[in-house]
C-alpha cells in the first residue's frame, strides 16, 4: 500500500458548553472523541453516521477550520496541527472543502467571478487576465456556461450552486477535498448529476476525497473505503464491498438494514434499533452504543472498546470482536 | 372493491405572488381508498405539500388559493354514504372534519409542536375539540395515544415540553396528535425526511402498524422511493405541479412508463449493485409556472419530440389503474383517457 496522503491520529474536538451570564464553562460536547484513520492518495474515503455524530466536525477539524482539541493530522508527511497561522493559510491550497448547504456557503453579495477568483488571488496565482480565464475554464468543467461568472449566487438553483462550490474547491488544484455531505440538500435527479461530476473530476485531477454523507447508498456508490461513526467515535472502517457484505459492528448492521430499499422485491428483515442517539455532551459510559445495542454485554457498559483491525483492512470497535 | 375515502379531482392551487401567478398544483387528480397507503413522490417544489395542504384547507391565503377542482371526502354515516366537497364546504364544517376525520403530520418534527405547551395539552386540545370528554378522560386518551405510538414513560411525557424530546419522539407525538381522534385519513407530509435512518425505520414501522391495525388510510408524501417501496400500495409521481404517473407500487418501481419516473429510478445509487456511473437526468427541476406550454418535462426528456413542446399531454390510463402523462403511449390502442374518467 502507498503511504497515506492524510493521517488522522487520535483527533478530538470538545466544544465547551457555556452557561450563565458569566459564560462559564459548564460542560463539554464531545463532538469528535478520539478518531483515527488514513486516507490514501487518489482514494475516496466515505464517512457515514447519523446526524450529530461528529462527521462534519471531523472534516472541519482536520482542516483546522475548527481548531482540534487534541490529536495529530499529518498531511503529506507534515503535521499540520503544529503549523502556525500563516503556514496553515498557505497549506489550504492543497486541502479544500465542499459544504453541504449550497445556499449558505456562497457569499450572497459576491459575483461568481469574485467567489471563484478570490482563492487564486489569495494564493497569488496568475494575473488578472489569467484568473479570469481560469474562472471561465473551471465553470465549463463543472458544467456551467462561462458567462455565468457575472451572476450572483441567488440566480442559480441548488444544484448549480453546488457546482460553483465544487469549482471553488477545485480552482486552486488541491490534493485533498473534504466533501461534507455535498449532495444531501439536492434533489434526486440533481444528486446523481453532482455525484457523476465529482467522480469525473476525481479521475481527471487525481483528487483524494474524504466524502462525508449520511446516505449509505451514496457513500457506497462513491467510496473505496467507508468509515462508520457513532457519537464522536469511529465504530467501523472497512473497504466498500467488505462493509456492505460483511458488517461487523452491530450498529453498522442495523444501519444497513434500516435503509429502505426502492426495490420492492428486496424486502429484508429489519433490525430496528430501540431508542435515540444519546447526547454527545453526556455520552454513555463504556461503549457509546451499548444503550441501543441488541447484542450488548456487561463489559460494553464499562469498557470502551478499542478500535482495532479485525481482519485485513477491516477495523472495528466492538467487544464482540475484541477477543480475537 | 374498496371505496375511495378521499377523491381529489382536477385540483388547482395557485399562488398569487408579486412575481406572478404560480400554479403550484396544476390539475391534480388522485384517489385514496379505504385502508390503503397512497404514496406521492416528486422532487422538491413539485407541489406535494401544497396538494396535502389543499386537502386540509390550510393553504396559506394570501398568497395561495384553490382556483379549481374539488376534493371529495366520503364517509359512511349510518349506512348512508355522504360526500362533501372540502373546497366549498363551510369553514366551520371544515374545522370539524380536520383533525377528526382527516389528520395530518408534518415534515419537521422539531418545529411542528408548539414549544410553549406540554405534550399532553397539545394532544388534549385535539381531543377536546372533537369529542365530548372530561378533562380526565381527555388526559387518559392522550396517554393511551402516546402508548400507542410507542412512547415510553407516557405518564410522565404528557407533562413534558417538546424540547425535552428527541426528533423521533416528537414525530411520534405528532402522530399521536394526528391519531387522537382516530381519523379515516392520515396525511403524512414527508414524516421521516428530517430523521435519521434508524429513527426513520422506527417511524415507518409505526405507521405501517397503524395502517394495518386501525385501517387508517394514509397519504404518504415523500421524495424517497425507498420509503415508497416500504410503505405504499399505490404511488402517484408528481412533476412540476402535475401528476405524471400513477399506479400500484410494483408497477411504478419495476416498470415505470413515464420518462421522468424512469430517469428518477435509474438515477438512484443502488445498494445492491455497484455501477460505475449513475444515470442522470440533465437540466434542473423547473419551478411550477416556468414552463407554460407543452410537457413540463420535455426540456429534460431524452425522448421528447416536437409535440411535447407544443401540447400538454393528457393523463392516459395504460392498464388497470396505471396512468401516465406522456405522448409516447398515446398510440397504444387500449388507452382510456384517465382525465376524462376522473371526476365523472
Amino acid at each position: 500500500m502507498p503511504t497515506p496522503l492524510l493521517e488522522v491520529k487520535g483527533l478530538k474536538k470538545y466544544f465547551p458548553v457555556t452557561g450563565g451570564i458569566f459564560s462559564r464553562k459548564v460542560g463539554e460536547v464531545k463532538a469528535v472523541n478520539d478518531v483515527s484513520f488514513e486516507v490514501y492518495e487518489g482514494e475516496v474515503l466515505g464517512i457515514v453516521g447519523e446526524s450529530g455524530c461528529g462527521k462534519s466536525t471531523t472534516g472541519k477539524a482536520l482542516l483546522r477550520l475548527i481548531e482540534p482539541t487534541e490529536g495529530e493530522v499529518i498531511f503529506n508527511g507534515e503535521n499540520i496541527t503544529k503549523l502556525d497561522r500563516e503556514a496553515m493559510r498557505l497549506k489550504r491550497r492543497d486541502m479544500q472543502i465542499i459544504f453541504q448547504d449550497p445556499y449558505a456557503s456562497l457569499n450572497p453579495r459576491h459575483k461568481v467571478e469574485k467567489i471563484l477568483s478570490e482563492p487564486l488571488l489569495i494564493h497569488g496565482i496568475g494575473d488578472k487576465e489569467e484568473r479570469k480565464r481560469k474562472v471561465r475554464e473551471i465553470l465549463e468543467i463543472v458544467g456551467l456556461p462561462g458567462e455565468h461568472a457575472s451572476r450572483y449566487p441567488h440566480q442559480f438553483s441548488g444544484g448549480q450552486r453546488q457546482r460553483i462550490g465544487i469549482a471553488r474547491a477545485l480552482i486552486v488544484n488541491p490534493k485533498l477535498i473534504v466533501c461534507d455531505e455535498p449532495v444531501s440538500a439536492l434533489d434526486v435527479s440533481i444528486q446523481s448529476q453532482i455525484l457523476n461530476l465529482m467522480e469525473d473530476l476525481q479521475g481527471q485531477f487525481g483528487l483524494t476525497y474524504l466524502f462525508i454523507a449520511h446516505d449509505l447508498s451514496v457513500v457506497k456508490h462513491i467510496s473505496h473505503r467507508i468509515g462508520v461513526m457513532y457519537l464522536g467515535k469511529m465504530a467501523e472502517l472497512a473497504p466498500n464491498e467488505d462493509l456492505y457484505s460483511n458488517p461487523l459492528h452491530p450498529y453498522t448492521k442495523s444501519l444497513l438494514s434500516a435503509v429502505p430499499n426502492p426495490d420492492p422485491d428486496l424486502k429484508t428483515d429489519r433490525v430496528i434499533l430501540e431508542g435515540d442517539v444519546p447526547s454527545p455532551s453526556n455520552p454513555p459510559s463504556g461503549c457509546a452504543f451499548h444503550t441501543r445495542c441488541p447484542e450488548c454485554m456487561d463489559i460494553c457498559k464499562e469498557v470502551d472498546p478499542e478500535f482495532k483491525e479485525f481482519s485485513d483492512n477491516h477495523f472495528v470497535a466492538c467487544h464482540l470482536f475484541n477477543d480475537k | 372493491m374498496k371505496k375511495p375515502v378521499l377523491e381529489i379531482n382536477h385540483l388547482k392551487t395557485h399562488f398569487f405572488t408579486d412575481r406572478g401567478e404560480i400554479p403550484a398544483v396544476d390539475d391534480v387528480s388522485v384517489k385514496i381508498y379505504e385502508g390503503e397507503v397512497l404514496g406521492i413522490v416528486g422532487e422538491s417544489g413539485c407541489g406535494k405539500s401544497v396538494t396535502s395542504l389543499s386537502v386540509m384547507g390550510l393553504v396559506p391565503d394570501p398568497p395561495g388559493k384553490i382556483v379549481g377542482g374539488e376534493i371529495l371526502f366520503r364517509q359512511q354515516e349510518g349506512g348512508q354514504e355522504r360526500s362533501e366537497n372540502l373546497v366549498t364546504v363551510k369553514k366551520k364544517r371544515l374545522r370539524q372534519i380536520r383533525g377528526n376525520q382527516i389528520a395530518m403530520i408534518f415534515q419537521e418534527p422539531m418545529t411542528s409542536l408548539d414549544p410553549l405547551f406540554t405534550i399532553g395539552y397539545q394532544i388534549i386540545e385535539a381531543v377536546k375539540k372533537h369529542k365530548k370528554v372530561t378533562k380526565k378522560e381527555a388526559r387518559q386518551i392522550a396517554i393511551d395515544k402516546l402508548i400507542l405510538v410507542g412512547i415510553p414513560r407516557a405518564e410522565e411525557i404528557v407533562d413534558e415540553y417538546p424540547h425535552q424530546l428527541s426528533g423521533g419522539m416528537r414525530q411520534r407525538v405528532m402522530i399521536a396528535i394526528a391519531m387522537s381522534c382516530d381519523p379515516e385519513v392520515l396525511i403524512a407530509d414527508e414524516p421521516t425526511t428530517a430523521l435519521d435512518v434508524t429513527i426513520q425505520a422506527q417511524i415507518l414501522d409505526l405507521m405501517k402498524k397503524l395502517n394495518k391495525e386501525n385501517g387508517t388510510a394514509i397519504m404518504m408524501i415523500t421524495h424517497d422511493l425507498g420509503v415508497v417501496a416500504e410503505m405504499c400500495d399505490r404511488v402517484a409521481v408528481m412533476y412540476a405541479g402535475k401528476v405524471v404517473e400513477e399506479g400500484d407500487v410494483r408497477t411504478i418501481l419495476k416498470d415505470p412508463k413515464h420518462p421522468y419516473t424512469q430517469g428518477l429510478i435509474r438515477s438512484l445509487p443502488k445498494m445492491n449493485k455497484r455501477e460505475e456511473r449513475l444515470y442522470s437526468i440533465p437540466g434542473n427541476v423547473p419551478k411550477p409556472g416556468s414552463i407554460k406550454i407543452g410537457c413540463r418535462f420535455a426540456p429534460r426528456c431524452s425522448e421528447a419530440f416536437n409535440r411535447c413542446y407544443e401540447e400538454n399531454p393528457d393523463l392516459l390510463e395504460l392498464r388497470d389503474g396505471h396512468t401516465c402523462r406522456c405522448f409516447l403511449y398515446e398510440k397504444e390502442g387500449d388507452l382510456v383517457n384517465a382525465d376524462a374518467l376522473a371526476g365523472s
Binding site: F99, P108, R168 | L268, N284
Partner: protein, 306 residues
C-alpha cells in the same frame, strides 16, 4: 435510495428562493434585487417622495419664499394663515412658512450628521467588540449596557450642558446617545455573520482575517445597518427637536422646528398655527424616513425585526 437532511430548506419556498426570473446573461446583484423590491413598496415610495420633497425644499429654500426667516415684523405679529403668509406668522411677525422651509435644512442636516457620527463610532466599536471578542467585547458591551441603561434624553441633556447649547453640540449629543444602538447592531451582525458557512468557506480558502472582515463580514452586515441608519435619521430628528424644545439645540434665530414649537407653545390658544406647522413638519420628515426604513428592511433584510 436516499434521505435528505434539509438543513436550511424551508418547507415552503418563499419568493426569494424562486428560480431566477431573468434572461440568461443578466447579472442581478442583491442590491439591485432589493431595489426592485423597494420599488414595489408603495409606502416606501411615499416616504422617498416625502424626503425628496423636503430635500428639494431645503436646497431651494431661498427661491421658495420672498421673506427672510429672521427679519422681524412687529406689525404683522401672529397673523393667521393667509395668501400673504401661507402658514401665518409667529410672535415676532416672521413668516412661518419661510422658517419651516429653512428649518428643513437644519433637520435634515441634524439627521445626517448625527447618524453619520453614531454610525462611524458605533460601527468602529461594534466591529472591535464583535471581531476581537473576549475582554474587548466584554468591555465595550458593558459600556454599551451602561449607556443604554441611562435615560437617553437625560444623557443628551447632560452632554449638551457640558458642551453648551448649540445646534452643533446637540448634534454631538444625539450622535453619542445613538452610538450604542449602532454599536450593538454591528457587533451582533459581525458575530452572526462570522458564523455563516461562507465565512468558513473563505477561511478554508486561506483568506486572511482582515480580508474576511472587510470583504465578507462587513458587506454582509451592511443591510441591517443601512436600515437602522435610515430609521435613525427619524429618531435623530425627533431627538433634536426634543432638545430644541428644551432650548438646548439650535439657538435663535435659527429656525429649528423643535425650537419653534417651544417658542410658540404659549400661543397655542391664540395662534394655533404657530404650533401646528412645525410639529407637522417634524412628523412628516420623520414619517418619511420611517417609511423608507420599513421598506428597506423588507427589501434588504426581511428577517430583521423592529
Amino acid at each position: 435510495m436516499e434521505s435528505v437532511t434539509p438543513v436550511k430548506k424551508q418547507p415552503m419556498p418563499g419568493p426569494e428562493n424562486q428560480e431566477p426570473h431573468l434572461t440568461e446573461t443578466e447579472s442581478i446583484s442583491p442590491w439591485k434585487e432589493a431595489f426592485w423590491q423597494l420599488r414595489k413598496n408603495k409606502l416606501a415610495l411615499v416616504g422617498l417622495f416625502i424626503i425628496i420633497f423636503f430635500i428639494m425644499i431645503a436646497i431651494f429654500a431661498p427661491f421658495l419664499t420672498s421673506y427672510s426667516y429672521q427679519t422681524l415684523n412687529a406689525a404683522d405679529r401672529l397673523q393667521g394663515p393667509s395668501a400673504q403668509y401661507w402658514f401665518g406668522t409667529d410672535d415676532l411677525g416672521r413668516d412661518i412658512f419661510t422658517r419651516i422651509v429653512y428649518g428643513a435644512r437644519i433637520s435634515l442636516m441634524v439627521g445626517f450628521f448625527a447618524v453619520t457620527g453614531a454610525l462611524i463610532f458605533g460601527s468602529f466599536l461594534g466591529i472591535l467588540a464583535g471581531y476581537f471578542g473576549r475582554w474587548v467585547d466584554m468591555l465595550i458591551s458593558r459600556i454599551f449596557d451602561i449607556m443604554l441603561a441611562f435615560p437617553s434624553i437625560l444623557l443628551a441633556i447632560a452632554i449638551v450642558a457640558i458642551l453648551g447649547p448649540s445646534l452643533q453640540n446637540a448634534l454631538i449629543a444625539i450622535a453619542i446617545i445613538n452610538v450604542p444602538i449602532f454599536g450593538r447592531l454591528v457587533r451582533s451582525k459581525v458575530i452572526s455573520i462570522r458564523q455563516e458557512e461562507y465565512i468558513m468557506a473563505a477561511k478554508a480558502q486561506g483568506m486572511k482575517n482582515g480580508r474576511i472582515l472587510f470583504h465578507h463580514v462587513l458587506p454582509n452586515s451592511l443591510a441591517p445597518i443601512i436600515v437602522q441608519a435610515t430609521l435613525g435619521f427619524g429618531t435623530a430628528i425627533l431627538e433634536a427637536a426634543a432638545l430644541g424644545f428644551l432650548g438646548l439645540g439650535a439657538q435663535p434665530p435659527t429656525p429649528e422646528w423643535g425650537r419653534m414649537l417651544s417658542d410658540s407653545r404659549q400661543y397655542i390658544q391664540s395662534a394655533p398655527w404657530t404650533v401646528l406647522f412645525p410639529g407637522l413638519s417634524i412628523m412628516l420628515v420623520v414619517l418619511g424616513f420611517n417609511m423608507i426604513g420599513d421598506g428597506l428592511r423588507d427589501a434588504l433584510d426581511p428577517k430583521m425585526k423592529n
